[in-house]
Every structure is written in structure tokens, then in C-alpha cells.
Symmetry: D2
């Protein structure tokens, strides 16, 4: 199977809230992570990654997260978060994130990445990404290509 | 002066985030308060309530808040928050909030109210709402009337 | 049954975090609500209010919340939150909260109250507070009296 | 100058709150980042890193953050966060974090790191870490060595 990943199929828009700012009058660093999470969940929904969570107790866990902060964000603003699965292993996968500020003409304000692992919540151990899920992820990554 | 308040001139739209949900799988009660705050800040900006904060250290403080939760909100959804100043005293004012869920066809999911007091941050005591600000608030409340 | 409620049996200590402050350099109003929630959950655990949640899908929902902010809190600090059930109806109950700042010698910085309703999550409707739970709450309120 | 960094001089204890948990019934990943931030601020206070922020507009900005999640945390618990500056460059520095769960006998639940840059907030550009601050950081790292 030739995988064609890293095509940024999912983009979401999020309203910056006044309370997202901290005492330095910038949006707090943890809020960027919440935005990435919201984009991650939109991706998971689109590819069916959570479909087996209730029925089979199989779903992703977040093993690691990383963010680079390029420019501050202040209220009021709307950010756009783009996400993609950039790599799949047997049971783990890598996601990437780009966050743009609408107030600053689409300026890239942060990038990030996350490592997810498919996990059998009943045993607590990792489990392979199913062929079905693998295919849906690949489809999703291809679907929006020109 | 005949005041005509309580006309709900400000409405904002906010994306519900996955992380807004708590362990009971509903949006946590404190998030509704954050939404009200974002609407409050949009109102403050529109009527110039914060204009004297940097220059004269005069601005509003939140004295009390109240919320009634009518229906749960779950991710994904977009809420619309409406707000109005419903009453003005010499140095204090009352705001009201209505939160609607787009996923549930605009169902009213929460109402709330807040008491604000104009405060001189340099002395820590309350100060009258200026005639100028009072006029701008009244204008804003009238402006969107049919 | 003579009820003796409102005796403040539960107190918890919470570390104020830097990120709890907002752009006005005070702890944000919603954080006070989170502190009240943490105290509420400690109370619920102590009286067994959540014991029927997993097995019978019967548990409390938050119908309303109210807070009065008396003094600002800034990082670093540790707050102490006291809570009590002050009133019980057939299926609803009232809780009260007091928040004290350790940095300010125990100064009362906020008070609050909440209305909870016992709810059958499988039907979505209210259900009476069981005699057993009612007794445990009364016991808890009495237990720490001198 | 022989630097002796990475000695974990600062440790803080933080109460896990019920609302820190998300819909998967574990403490949400962003909360770990808030804990690291609280430890970071305690370190900054101890070494005087914020002392020049008000007077000279010189202070640290967070350029990057990274976290590895080793085990879930659930309410109720108290976490202990240890932090250290592990490396100093001309104007940037690296911090490391370890988070332990008290409920699980001190089990290591997450590790993390952050890159900070000293910044002149009036110009927005990086500025060297002063000799004075460099000395205080080195002292702090040495002070608690056996």
C-alpha cells in the first residue's frame, strides 16, 4: 500500500475568547493545545477513529504533544487550525497541526505535533490500527487533494 | 432621561470544543460562564466601557454572577450568546445572558445574569458610570431596535 | 425528621495556579466556580451521592449556580473552600460555598450557592432523594458539630 | 564559568480538581501543561526572572513546549511537579519537568520540556540573559545539592 499522508484534510475555525488570555495579555500556551485537540477530535470523527470506543473499548490515547509558538494571539480573533495524520505505524500515528490567526491576515502563529497510540482500554495495552481504519485515514488524506 | 434597556443588542457565536466537556460528557458548567464573559467583553468593547481602563484606571469589575442551566450541551456544537445591559444604577449595572445551542435548533440552554460595578482601580472604590458611557450604552441598546 | 443542615462539614484546600489569572491579573471568575465544583465533588463523595451513578444512572445535576465576588485573588495563593448542603427538598437540594484566601490571612473572597437536582439519567427526569442518601447527608452535616 | 544545571531545585504540589478531567474521565492533556506552567512560574519567581518585567519590559517568552504522557491521572489526587533549568544559551534556556501522582505512590505520570527566550517586550526581539540572572539561576540549581 502506498500511503499518501500529510495532506491536511481537516480545518476548523475557533473563536478566541477573552478568558483565553492570561496575565501577560496573550492567549495562554495551553489554549493552543486545546485548539489542537479540537481539530484532532474533528479528524477522529471524520475518519471513524472513535467508532470502536464505545463498542470495543478500542480508541486512541495521546502519548506525546509538542508545540512551537511563533507569534502571540490576542482577543478578539478567530483562529483556523489545520490538521493531518502525517505518519502511521503498526499501532501508533503522528499528527501535525498548523494554527493561523485571522486577525493577522492568516499569519501562522503556532505549529504542533502529537503522537497517538491505538489502545485497548480493557487491557490498557496498544493494539494495531485496523485495516479498515487505516484505509479510511488514507482516503481522508487523499480525498481533498486536487 | 428615559432609558430603554434590555434590548439584547450583542450576539456572538462560539465554537464548542471537545475539551469543554467534563467527565459527565457534557460541557462543564464553568464553560457557560466563560461564554457569558466573552459576550460581556464584546458588549464592553462596543460601548467603550474599557476605553478608560488604560488611561484613567476606571473600568468595570464583576461583583456577582448567576446562571440557570436548562439543557446540556455536547461537542460538537456552536452556541450563540446574546447579552444586554438590563439596568443601570449610579455606579453599578445588571447584564443578562441567553445561550442557544445551534445543534438543537436554537434551543435555549442557559440563562444568566451578572452585576458589574464601575471601579476606580487606583483607589479600589466604586465610581459613577460617566454620562458619556451611560449615553453610549443607551444608544447601543436602542440602535438595534426595529 | 428534624434536619440540621448548613453546618459546613467539608473543607478543601486548592493551590492557586498562575494560569488561573486572566488579562486583568486577577484569578478569573470562572475559576472560583471550578473551586466550588471541586468542593461539591468532595462533598458528593463523602455522602455517597455518586454511588448510584454508575449502577442505577441516578445522580445529581447542577440546575443553577450563583457567586458573589468579594475580593480579588492573585497568584501565588492557596484557597480554602468550605461547603455545606443547606436545604433539601424532595428531589432538589441547595449547597452553599465560602472561599477564603490564605495569602490574605483567611479573608473571605467569595461566597456562592448552587441548586442540584437528583436526576434519573436514563429518563432525564428528576427523582426523589433516597432516604438512605438523605440520612447520610444529615449525618455528614451533624458529624462535625461540636 | 562551570555551570551545574539540571538539578531540579523547585518542586510544587497541586490539588487535582474534578473539572480537570475530560469526557474520557482522565485529566485532560492540557492540564498537565498548566501544571508545568505553575512550576515554571515558581522557578521564575525564585530566580528573579520576572523582576525586570515591569521595570524594563524584559522577561521570558515560551517558544516551545513538549510533553510525554506516561500514565493517566484521575481525580482525586495531588500531583507533585519538579522543574529545573537544564541548559542556558546566550538568550534562550531549556527547562525540564517531571510530574508525579501522589495517589499512585509517587508514580511518574508525565515528563516535559520547554524552551524559553529572554525577550525585550518593547522591541519584541530576544535579548541576552543578564549575568546577574545567569548567576541566580546557577545558584538556585546548586543550592539544593547535597
Amino acid at each position: 500500500m502506498v500511503e499518501n499522508l500529510g495532506n491536511w484534510p481537516i480545518s476548523i475555525e475557533i473563536t478566541v475568547q477573552w478568558g483565553d488570555m492570561d496575565a501577560l495579555k496573550h492567549v495562554n500556551n495551553t489554549v493552543f493545545l486545546t485548539w489542537m485537540e479540537t481539530a484532532r477530535m474533528a479528524y477522529f470523527e471524520e475518519c471513524g477513529m472513535m467508532d470502536t470506543f464505545e463498542s470495543e473499548k478500542i480508541g486512541p490515547i495521546l502519548a506525546a504533544i509538542k508545540a512551537d509558538f511563533l507569534a502571540p494571539v490576542v482577543y478578539p480573533d478567530t483562529v483556523v487550525v489545520h490538521t493531518t495524520i502525517s505518519k502511521m505505524g503498526r499501532s501508533s500515528f503522528e499528527m501535525a497541526y498548523k494554527i493561523m490567526s485571522s486577525a493577522n491576515g492568516g499569519e501562522l502563529v503556532a505549529t504542533g505535533s502529537a503522537t497517538g497510540v491505538m489502545c485497548d482500554y480493557s487491557t490498557g495495552s496498544s493494539t494495531p490500527i485496523s485495516e479498515n481504519l487505516r484505509a479510511r485515514i488514507t482516503d481522508l488524506e487523499w480525498a481533498r487533494l486536487p
